[in-house]
Symmetry: D3
Subunit: 66 residues, 6 copies
């Protein structure tokens, strides 16, 4: 029954990678807390690099400097 | 003043249905807790079926199997 | 399968009122979008009035002025 | 290390304005709480006006009436 | 730089289990997407069973029936 | 009408500091985007240091090592 929300920047995660995140997060809750996976929800948000900031700069800016 | 966030899969909810969710969620808080609706916010997030997992599978996969 | 998060100030909502919010939010998604309620999650967050602001003031302050 | 999430309606915020929100929110946490900005995250969500409700009406409707 | 939020019911997860959730979620993002863990945040919310609903019932009620 | 959520670790932020966060976040949205503050909500979540992870370790652990 847990709910997991994963926020990443929108930089080309594939359908397969997102399926792996869903499987991995579900398995983690089953393994660590013995949760029933039946109604265990995982929601992945992909956020534009203009809309994600670290240490006061957008990821768009950080990528340019890197 | 409450804040309600509704997350659904992006599968064609119409503008009218989203208006009904906004009205219904607002009315629920007014009815049950007597809240003033003036600054009562409702935000609906529509999530791609690749990005939503239940019981370890993406909704995209679950729809194929159904 | 939807997920609903309701944030209210922590001001004495009873167990019965919270049950009514859970039922009402679930029914709303069933009625408007025909969702299966089986893995429909509702999470209620009760937030201290010091930690909730409207129009730049905490609810604690607003309650004093009212 | 704090995490700040800013939700606004999707009505044309520019890249520069979003950069200002990231800088301002980061600086606020540094100024008020003395937080180290290094792993301070800011995520901006831009929400369709059909999907945002105030006082029971979508912002799309409210804009028409204004 | 990703952000992971894990919501579970407040039913006695230990400090060690929460550490395992933090490690596991961090490793998942490193393994699947090659993310740098440096500013990778994980936040665990423990929610009262009265405040968590599944299929229209609070977990408090569901535990009684089980 | 925007909604701002600030998550910090629960390490003694005072009522005054939280009021400053509410004022500052509200002013930021007014200054940058010209938003009407009337129904502008700010919610501060204070998270136990056991429940907050950075780079795979809980803040509780990181504080011990510091």
């Amino acid at each position: 029954m847990p709910y997991v929300n994963i926020k990443i920047t929108k930089e080309g995660a594939t359908k397969e990678q997102k399926q792996q995140l869903i499987e991995g997060a579900t398995q983690l809750l089953v393994d660590v807390l013995g949760k029933d996976p039946t109604s265990l929800l995982v929601v992945i948000d992909e956020v534009d690099t203009d809309n994600w900031g670290i240490a006061g700069k957008s990821v768009t800016e950080l990528r340019k400097q890197a």
